[in-house]
């Protein structure tokens, strides 16, 4: 298994900026994180990642099958397909959007300027992603699109699916992006980075449904920079994978920028789901809200590590964070670390965390009305999670979440 930077073979390329990024990634990758790394304290990646998962995925020819996914949708959308980590390049460019395969986009300097705006040494999987940079989408949204933008990720074979997307929202644009991850029961590793830039007055609604194969590892690093009055809103539902991690790093760069995260996970078996957030309030009048709810059954394990940082002088900041977990069986466990790091005085920040079983009173209420125990439990857990997605404004997308 790949453990050290020396194990990475950097591919040759004739695009200078791509080559430079790969070298940079390799240099930033120090080693695979262990439980001694604070950021991966509860997520034993080394136990799950295997040799097969790092094999390069061969480009397969099931684009057509993938594209069928689109037909399942009962609404109109712009669709992009990633089949076993390879971007289906035959997409139609429409209404105020510039979409290019990342390697193509890198021939132009401007795109290169939007990649790796973070310290990759602190994000080993992002560094690894850079070192293997090949596949990904460069998407610039210049006008508010009339339809949601869908990203379908399909995994049918074992191996590494290394994807790096860059998404730019221009001034005043509102867009909806939906990511759907699905896969077969193969030993594969999805390593995704989404680097997102929300310009002034723009707003992005970022949805993610993750249902990877049960032997797979899924690590997603999402980073958003939000400028003044901009808004990044995210809804995440995770239930698949042997190990999955949704990491969200948000920089509220200018005044009145805001970020919202609503995440849920529902897991059983030996699944581990990790939600890690880091929200940096860098300027005054910035707001963030995070609500994360998890239902953990059988021997599954839920992990939440959330951090709110308020920089010096970022006064009038509001930061809220709440994590609630339901443990449904004796083998289930949850590890939570909600963190506040505050360097400004005029702020209102709070976090809360609770965990426990379903309420006996609520169960009794339902059972006394003639509902069997299993049904009652299901109703209560669904009701518990449902609140996370209540605020989704697009009914079609809300439907996707409710029927996921």
């Amino acid at each position: 298994m790949l453990k050290l930077p020396n194990d990475i073979i950097v591919k040759e390329t004739d695009i200078p900026s791509l080559g430079a990024l790969r070298q940079k990634g390799k240099a930033a990758f120090l080693s695979l994180p262990s439980l001694k790394d604070e950021a991966f304290k509860y997520t034993p990646v080394q136990n799950v990642l295997t040799d097969e998962m790092f094999q390069p995925s061969s480009c397969c020819n099931h684009f057509k099958e993938c594209a069928c996914e689109k037909n399942k949708l009962d609404f109109e959308a712009h669709c992009f397909f990633f089949c076993d980590g390879t971007l289906h390049e035959h997409f139609h460019l429409t209404e105020g959007m510039e979409a290019l395969p990342l390697s193509e986009a890198l021939k132009n300097h401007e795109a290169a300027g939007h990649i790796n705006k973070f310290d990759a040494t602190k994000h080993p999987f992002a560094a690894l992603n850079l070192a293997c940079l090949e596949q990904g989408l460069f998407l610039r949204i210049e006008k508010t699109p009339s339809k949601p933008i869908m990203f379908f990720y399909q995994a049918k074979q074992q191996g590494l699916k290394n994807i790096y997307n860059v998404i730019l929202l221009e001034k005043g644009v509102s867009a909806e992006i939906v990511e759907i991850f699905e896969g077969q029961n193969e030993a594969y590793f999805t390593n995704v980075v989404n680097e997102i830039f929300v310009a002034k007055d723009a707003s992005l609604k970022h949805y993610k449904l993750q249902n990877e194969g049960l032997s797979a590892a899924h690590i997603a690093f999402n980073r958003a920079e939000v400028k003044s009055n901009g808004c990044y809103e995210s809804y995440v539902f995770q239930k698949g994978g042997k190990l999955s991690r949704h990491e969200l790093e948000i920089c509220l760069l200018q005044e009145s920028a805001s970020a919202f995260l609503n995440a849920a996970y529902k897991i059983k078996g030996d699944t581990l789901v990790d939600t890690t957030t880091n929200i940096a309030h860098l300027k005054p009048f910035t707001t963030s809200e995070q609500t994360i709810k998890g239902v953990i059954d059988e021997n599954a394990r839920g992990v939440f590590q959330g951090k709110i940082c308020v920089a010096k002088n970022a006064v009038h900041t509001k930061g809220y964070q709440l994590h609630k977990a339901l443990l449904l069986s004796d083998g289930a466990s949850v590890d939570v670390k909600p963190e506040l790091e505050i360097f400004a005085d005029d702020v209102k920040c709070s976090h809360g965390a609770t965990c426990g079983d379903l309420s006996k009173d609520e169960l009794f209420y339902l059972r006394s009305r003639g509902i069997c125990e299993n049904k009652a439990r299901e109703m209560l857990t669904n009701a518990f999670l449902k609140t996370v997605f209540e605020d989704i404004s697009n009914p079609n997308i809300k439907n996707l979440f409710e029927n996921f």
């Binding site: 604070e38 509860y42 010096k312 002088n313 006064v315 977990a325 443990l327 449904l328 069986s329 004796d330 289930a332 466990s333 949850v334 590890d335 939570v336 670390k337 909600p338 963190e339 506040l340 790091e341 505050i342 360097f343 400004a344 005085d345 005029d346 702020v347 209102k348 920040c349 709070s350 976090h351 809360g352 965390a353 609770t354 965990c355 426990g356 079983d357």
Partner: protein, 481 residues
């Protein structure tokens, strides 16, 4: 308008315990090696088994590295540049307080602990006073002895009650526990030993005052409290040190063993010298405190008021092993100027129906930084465990920082855990309300802060509550405006 004094003008000079007493001391040579440890051990006339333990700890310490995970930045300590033993010179062991060096008694008198008076007056507190490395006087021993309570310095306990010390020392905090605990296990010099026999409720508060006096000395005291079945004790600890430009090291261990149905209340007012207003000097306070609730229905309560020290690294913990046992942690931490505190607690639930409660109030002012770091762990077998944690922070001024890092690990579905934390500044409305009623800004702040801390202050024994309330006001003086 009245000119408000700057932060720099005040605070640092407010440390009223900053005097140095001129007491002749006997020190071991600087530095740390096996010979020094042998010297400490022989000075204290220790049995071989204890020396063996010390050496084992020292050898293990050599293999350890200083922990870096805390949110603290301080100059690295040179462990070879410290005195590991400093004792007031005394010919023979004093039999009564009259034989104790008057200069020492004067020191404690200045600190507000009139040992002598207490021997005469019917006080309510029994005191063990520890100067630099050695326990100088313990009051009320005879009275306690009648009830079977042992309250003496640890070095006496080693001689007089070796079976108890051997059984319990290192039981809760083994030498290999952490870097500073390991160092302490190798070089600890003195501290208090408390043993409450079965069914005895200790009628008075037991108290220890720690004082670092000599220059460049590290203080490594060790406290061991054993509460037998059905007993009760309330124990107080106070600490001060002179103002010096160098940083002084204080690395202590407190171990508490609570057996079935017993209860121990441990209160600390920590007021080591915090350094001056420029952040120079001050005590490095690296303390390991842990209680083991060994029997059923055992109860431990930690209450701490932390106002001193340049750097604090302290996590009083409870291991709730007995069924139905409970642990409590009440803390007020105040940092000003360049103080740094990384403090909190660990509640480890092992037994069934164990409960724990954490209330932590942090106030940062000036350029200080404060972190609450806590762990609540529910093991698989801890059915019906219950925890409630609340951490509130108050920020005064724009240059300070306040951080909260709670860790919650739950492996049992029947456990119910709640954690809440808030951070804010003193609200304009509250200030305005007070000012309208004629208080100036500083008084208003003090009033609001004491209200903020009230929940914890109420848990302190009477004798300490008044002193602690004053201390909070002194610590915050000059931080407003």
């Amino acid at each position: 308008m009245v000119q408000k004094p700057n932060i720099e003008d005040l605070s640092g000079d407010k440390y009223k315990y900053g005097f140095v007493s001129d007491i002749e001391v006997e020190t071991a040579p600087k530095g740390l090696n096996e010979d020094i440890i042998r010297l400490i051990s022989s000075k204290k006339d220790e049995p071989d088994w204890l020396l063996e333990r010390r050496l084992r700890a020292y050898r293990h310490w050599l293999t350890m590295v200083e922990p870096k995970w805390a949110k603290l930045t301080y100059e690295k300590l040179n462990y070879q540049d410290l005195f590991y033993y400093a004792a007031p010179k005394q010919k023979a062991k004093p039999k009564s307080l009259d034989e104790v060096n008057p200069e020492i008694l004067k020191t404690y008198d200045k600190l507000g602990i009139p040992l002598k008076e207490q021997e005469i007056l019917a006080g309510v507190v029994a005191v063990d006073a520890v100067l630099d490395s050695v326990s100088v006087a313990t009051t009320y021993r005879s009275k306690l002895k009648e009830m079977g309570i042992i309250f003496c310095s640890i070095s006496e306990a080693v001689k007089e009650h070796p079976e108890l010390v051997k059984k319990y020392l290192g039981l809760v905090v083994p030498y290999s526990d952490n870097f500073f605990a390991c160092l302490n296990s190798a070089v600890f010099t003195d501290g208090s030993f408390v043993y409450i026999p079965k069914g005895v409720k200790c009628p008075m508060e037991l108290s220890t005052y720690f004082r670092i006096n000599a220059q460049n000395t590290g203080q490594f005291e060790r406290t061991l409290i054993v509460a037998e079945e059905g007993s009760y004790v309330s124990y107080l600890e106070g600490c001060t040190a002179p103002m010096r430009d160098e940083n002084q090291l204080h690395a202590a261990i407190v171990e508490i063993v609570v057996l079935k149905d017993a209860e121990v209340k441990y209160s600390t007012v920590q007021n080591w010298y915090p350094g001056d207003s420029k952040g120079k000097g001050g005590v490095y306070n690296f303390v390991t405190k842990r209680a083991l609730c060994k029997g059923e229905n055992a109860k431990v309560s930690w209450t701490q008021v932390e106002t001193g020290s340049a750097v604090t690294w302290k996590y009083p913990s409870c291991i709730l092993a007995g069924n139905n046992s409970s642990g409590e942690f009440y803390s007020v931490a105040i940092t000003n100027n360049f103080q740094q505190a990384d403090t909190g607690t660990k509640m480890i639930h092992l037994g069934q129906n164990t409960t724990s409660r954490i209330i932590s109030k942090g106030i940062s002012a000036g350029f200080s930084n404060q972190t609450y770091r806590g762990l609540v762990k529910i093991a698989k077998g801890a059915t019906g465990a219950r925890n409630h944690s609340q951490c509130d922070s108050l920020l005064i001024g724009r240059t300070c920082g306040s951080h909260t890092v709670p860790y919650i690990e739950n492996e049992n579905k029947t456990a119910v855990l709640e954690h809440e934390a808030t951070t804010s500044k003193i609200s304009e409305e509250q200030l305005f309300y007070c000012r309208q009623r004629g208080l100036n800004e500083e008084q208003a702040t003090q009033l609001i802060v004491s209200g903020f801390c009230k929940e914890v202050m109420q848990k302190l024994p009477m004798e300490f509550a008044v002193e602690a309330a004053k201390l909070i006001n002194i610590s915050l003086e000059g931080s407003v405006g």
